[in-house]
């Protein structure tokens, strides 16, 4: 199916769902569910919290859908709702960053490229120390591959702000990795 045909079909589904068609919304939810889960799982670093966030975002999306002005922006809108649901889940679990059950990392099927760069646990620890908003912008950029304009749409910020927030998130992540690597470096770790 061509992209334009898919976009038209999606628009029709969104408009039907805006008119109260739950079946149409169900199709939209099924086709977006995996991506939403991927986003939430990466932001929250917890499968259970991510499931809760996705469920919450879908219910809110259904409830608020008539208020979406432009059906073509459904995905950005849905992702915004999800990011906010992730923030809510993060707040709900106050001890989340320090006392969260470890996300099972299945690992990519290919040889772990990350292992050539840095210890995966170090990255996990560093990423968990980032506040949720910094995790979100990194996930939108590195997982979804969104540019600054699209990130701005999802987070409701101008592209320039997206740029600076992304910069600070990278900087924070780098600092955390470096801090974690210092003892390892002293012991012959991979980051130097």
């Amino acid at each position: 199916m061509r992209a334009t045909e898919r976009a038209e079909m999606d628009r029709d589904l969104v408009e039907q769902a805006q008119g109260g068609d739950r079946e149409a919304f169900g199709i939209l939810a099924r086709t977006r569910g995996d991506t939403l889960f991927g986003i939430a799982r990466r932001i929250l670093r917890d499968v259970g919290l991510a499931e809760d966030a996705v469920q919450q975002a879908l219910v809110i999306a259904w409830r608020e859908l008539p208020r979406l002005r432009d059906p073509d922006r459904f995905d950005a809108w849905l992702q915004r709702l999800l990011v906010h649901a992730c923030y809510a889940e993060a707040r709900r679990k106050r001890a989340w960053s320090a006392n969260v059950r470890v996300l099972p990392i299945d690992g990519p099927t290919a040889p772990d490229e990350l292992g050539w760069l840095v210890d995966r646990d170090e990255v996990e620890r560093g990423f968990r120390r980032l506040p949720p908003d910094q995790r979100a912008i990194l996930v939108l950029h590195h997982y979804l591959g969104l540019g600054l304009t699209e990130i701005g749409e999802v987070l409701d910020i101008p592209p320039g702000t997206a740029r600076s927030r992304l910069h600070y998130a990278h900087r924070a992540m780098r600092a955390l990795l470096e801090a974690d690597a210092r003892p390892a470096a002293a012991a012959g770790g991979r980051l130097s």
Binding site: G20, G33, G38, R41, V59, V139
Partner: protein, 284 residues
Amino acid sequence: MNRTTDAERILDVFLAPEADRLPDRVLEAALAEIARTPQRRALRVPWRFTGMPVLSRATAVAAVVVAAVAVGGALYLIGPGPGPGRPTQAPTPSPSPSVSADLLDVSTWTAFTSSRYGFSAKYPPTFEAVPSLQSWRMPDTPGNMFDGFSSAGAVRWLDGVSALLPVGTTQADWYDEYRRDIVEDENPWEPETCFTPREDWESTTVDGVAADLRVACGAMEAFVFVEDRVYVFAAFGYDSVQPPTDEPGVSDEVRGLFELWLTTITLDPAAAVDPAPIPSPTST
């Protein structure tokens, strides 16, 4: 090795797409809850995508505040807060020579002509035009029926619509229906306390035509009847899903900009394009 590149490369790999799969039970649980969840009514102020192509948000806020002060002058600074029953103050844009902001000179605003509703207006450089996508109808379920102007500043939204009055409908009838639509709907748009009685409304003019001015909760509306057409112009100081309070009243910024905006409006009912009437079953 470049450390920035390192961090980004690490994140590229760390956050790389994998075979993420949302468990069916989660999706089914969501859909089960959705089956019990009613949809909310469309909000007139639509979900907004940020678009501030000219000035920053901070500049926008400052500019709107300056406009409000210029328009309202000392009235806003020393007078009582706005509210129902307040005497109408004819908006008189008179830029202070000490203020250089382009905002105060409406000639620097961008012209907009509605292709649907039979009016023209101007909007400040810090706003973005958001044309309607379909014609207004009551009850106003879709949120994309308004020719609007969106801002990330203190005043979030200005808009205008118009519609033909149904044959035989008086202004009083129309107001009654509008009120029912706003506050008595199954999913009301405003709390009932936000819709003040008609006798508390103010008077103003739009393009030389008498208009009624209603102060709602964080928003204002002006109603203009020209021939067989009703125009509704509005300003909203919020973009959340509900009014911020259930008490009528607007900030000085909302009132100031709204009154200034109304001075830019030109009515042209002959240019309005109305949707085709729905054929009656007996006409086919």
